[in-house]
Symmetry: C2
Subunit: 338 residues, 2 copies
Amino acid sequence: MKSNKATIHDIAAKLNITASTVSRALNDNPRISDETKKKVLKVAKQINYQPNHIASALRSGKSRLIGVIVPTANRNFFSSVIRGIEDHANILNYKIIISQSYDEYAKEVLNTEALINARVDGIIASLGKMTENFDHFHKVLDKGIPLVLFDRTADVLDVSHVILDDHLGAYQAVDHLIKNGCRRIVHFTSAQRINIYRERKRGYEDALKANGLEVDPALILYSNMQLEDGRRLTEETLQNKVHFDGIFSSSDYAAMGALQVLKENGIAVPGQVKLVGFGNEPFTSFSDPTITTVDQRSISMGKITAEMFFEILNNKGAELISKKTIIKPELIIRDSSK
Amino acid sequence: MKSNKATIHDIAAKLNITASTVSRALNDNPRISDETKKKVLKVAKQINYQPNHIASALRSGKSRLIGVIVPTANRNFFSSVIRGIEDHANILNYKIIISQSYDEYAKEVLNTEALINARVDGIIASLGKMTENFDHFHKVLDKGIPLVLFDRTADVLDVSHVILDDHLGAYQAVDHLIKNGCRRIVHFTSAQRINIYRERKRGYEDALKANGLEVDPALILYSNMQLEDGRRLTEETLQNKVHFDGIFSSSDYAAMGALQVLKENGIAVPGQVKLVGFGNEPFTSFSDPTITTVDQRSISMGKITAEMFFEILNNKGAELISKKTIIKPELIIRDSSK
C-alpha cells in the first residue's frame, strides 16, 4: 500500500515557507514567530499531518510525554478535556499518558511521582476531592517541570490553570428554574474547599437573591454526589416532607439519582419538580425526560489547557508568572425543566 | 495528624512471619513461595496496606510502571478493567499509566513507543478496531518487555491474553430473546476481524440454529456501533419495512440508539420489539425501559489480567509460553426484553 501521508513539505508548500521553518515551528523553536507557529499548526490540522515521533524524540533527547492526572478518565468531562489536550499535543509531536487518582490523596501523590519517574516533560492535573496538601505539586514546580491545572484547583495553590466560570453556570441554571416558576429549589453540593462546588453554590445563592428569593440552608444538601447520593438525598427529602419544586444538582449523576426516585414516587418531572444537572454527561440526553444541564465546554478547556501548557513549556522563566483562564459555560435546556 | 497507616510489620504479625519475608513477597521475590505471596497479598488488602513507592523504586532500580493501552478510558468496561488491574498492581507497588488509541492504528503504534520511552516494566493492551499489523507489539516482545492483551485480541498474535467468552454471552442473549417469543432478531455487529464481534455473531447464529430458526443475512447489520449507528440502522430497518421483533446489539451504545428510534416511532419496547445490548454500561440501568445486557465481568477481567501479567513479569523465560484465560459473561435481564 502506497503511503499518502501528509509531510512537512506539504505544509511548507501551502504556506510558501521552507520545510525547515515548518519543522522548527512544529518543534516550538523560539526563533519562529508565534504568528507563523499558529499558521503552521492550522495547516497541519487541516491536512491531518502526523509527525514521526521516534525520529523527533531521538533528535531532541526529550521524552515528549505529558502526564495527565485526573480523578477518573471514565467521566465524559475528563475524557473530553483529555481528548482536547491530546489533539493539540499530538500535532506538536507530544504524547499523553494518563494516571487516575480516584479522588484519593495518596494515589494522587504516588501518580505524580510515577510521572516524574517516567521522565514526562510536564504535568497537567485536576485535583482529587480529598487533596488538601500540595507538596507533591510544589515538588513538580521545584524540579522546573511545567505544571498546569484545569477545572479543579485550590486557591492556596498558585499554579497556572484553566477553569470554568462555575458561578455563572450555576447562576444561569437557577435563574432558568426560577423563570420557569420554581420557588423552593433544592441544591446538591459537595466539599466546599473544592473551588467548583463552592462557586456553584455561590451561583445558586446569588441567583435566588437576585430574584428576591430567600436562601434556605435546609435545602442545601451535601454529599459525594454520585447517583446513589442523589437517590438517598431525594428519598430523605421526600420522607421529611420538605416542600420543594426544583432541584439544581452540581452533578449529573446525583441529578439522575433524583430523577429515578421522583419517578418511582409518581412525582412528575418537570410537571411537579423541575430538575437541572451539571456536566452534560451523555446519559442526560438518553434519560426520560432528558435532563437540562450545564455544558462545561470540555473540548475547549482541553485545547486551552494544552495551549497554556506549551506556552509555559516553551518559555522557561515563565514559571514565575501564573496564568489563569476562565471559560464560560453553556446552559443546555432539555425536557426536565420545561 | 498522627499516621495510623498499616505497615509490613502489621502484615508480618498477622501471618506470624518476618517483615523481610513480607517485603520480599510484596516485591515478588522468586525465593518466596506462591502460597506465602498469596497470603501476604490477602492480608495486605484486608488491612489496606499502602506501599512506599519511592523507597522501593530506589531499591529496585525499576520504574515500577505498567503501561495500559486502551481504545478509550471513557467506557465503563475499559475503566473497570483498568481499575481491576490498578487495584492489584498498587498492592504490589506498581503504578499504572494509561494511553488511549482512540481505535486509531497510528496512535496505538505511537503510544506503544511512548510507553517504551517511559521505561515501563510491561504493557497491558486491548487492540484498536483498525489494528491489522502487529509489528509494534512484536517489538515489545523482542525487547523482552512483558505484554498481556485483554478483551480485544487477534488470532494471528500469539500473545498471552484474557478474553471474555463472547460466543457464550451472545448465545445466552439470543436464546433469552427466543424463549421470550422473538422469531426475527436483528443483530448489530462490527468488523469481523475483531475477535469479540466475530464471536458474538457466531453466538447469535448458533442460538438461532439451536432453536430451529433460520439465519437471515438481511437481519445482520454492520456498523461502528456508536449510538448514532444504532439510530441510523433502526431508522433504515423501519423505512425498509423489514419485519423484526427483537434486536441483539453487540454494543450498548447502538442498543440505546435503537431504543430511542423505536420510542420515537411509537413502537413499544418490550411489547412489540425486545432489545438486548452488550457491555452493561451504566446508562443501560438508567434508561426507560432499562436495557437487558451482557455483563463482561470487567473487574474480574482486570484482576485476572494483572495476575497473568505479574506471573509473566516474575518468570523471565515464561515469554515462551502464551497463556490464555477465558471468562464467562453474565446475562443481566432488565425490562427491555421481558
